[in-house]
Amino acid sequence: MSARGETALWIAQRASAAVLGLCAIVHLAVIIYAVQGGLSAAEILGRTRGNLAWLAFYSIFVLAAAVHAPIGLRAIVIEWLGWRGRSRTGFLVIFAALLGWLGMRAVFAVFL
């Protein structure tokens, strides 16, 4: 890939890593805080349903994961499988779309 394309991917991966790092810390801290009073499906749904702040936070989390993971997987398939070209790009785009779709499906499952 061109220097510009490679650099853009690198920036995207670093930026998404920073977002993921922050999101993971908030996610874990909230879990630890939330389970203090016991944990039930009703309690979780009570907090998440219709909560726009929660929706925004986890949408960003999912988006960052969908950007970050395929770029990392790209390096792995190059080094381990020597897989290059359009078929690899196609695979990674599908993988990114799948991560985004599954992630957002999970988010909306407890938001709606």
Binding site: M1, S2, A3, R4, T7, W10, I11, A75, E79, W80
Partner: protein, 234 residues
Amino acid sequence: MKVAVWKGAAQGSFQEFDVPRQPSQTVLDVVTYIQRRLDSSLAYRYACRVGMCGSCAMTVNGVPRWTCRTHVDKVLHNEALRIEPLKNLPIIRDLVTDMSAFFDKWARAKGQFAGSRTKRDAFAPIASSSPERADIDAGIECIGCAVCYSACDVVAWNPDYLGPAALNRAWTLVKDTRDQRTVERLRAVAGDAGVHSCHTHMSCTERCPKRISPTAGIAGLKRAILKSALKGEL
């Protein structure tokens, strides 16, 4: 001591020799003893014997090292040595590797200085205390021994990867305020065989006999590439 030495090219085998221990004996002394006394057909490469020329690097007990300045005392394991050619380079014969790919990558990383002054111009003043000069000083003493290249996992996985030495060279030129080809050089090292492939394992930094940190140079290049990309130059 027992010394197992690689004989052959890509196909070959280890041959065992008994070599007497001497005080202050280096691994290069051992190889020279074998070649002069035990097996005159053994091919190996050296020149200066004092850690300047970078030609005697070999894999000693699994680790790439400059053999002229590696004392046997430091690397002997169970009274035995296992000496192989450098990894990640094609073997010509026995302990001699073909280093063409290694040096071709210096050229691909735009490792040539490109100044703008002629011999009629005055010298460019570079303060020895300037931060750029300090960065160059940290990387400039490379002797081109290919120990870092041999130690690099990424070169093993991706043979196109430019490798630590070529990237370190590019870094010293990027920091050289006299050089005129910075953007072109950054472009050359930012492709998919360049700095972004580095996993920061730091094997190069761990093994460099001159205590250079190519990892630091690669990190510096990434920062320079980022700045250049944000300015729209790349």
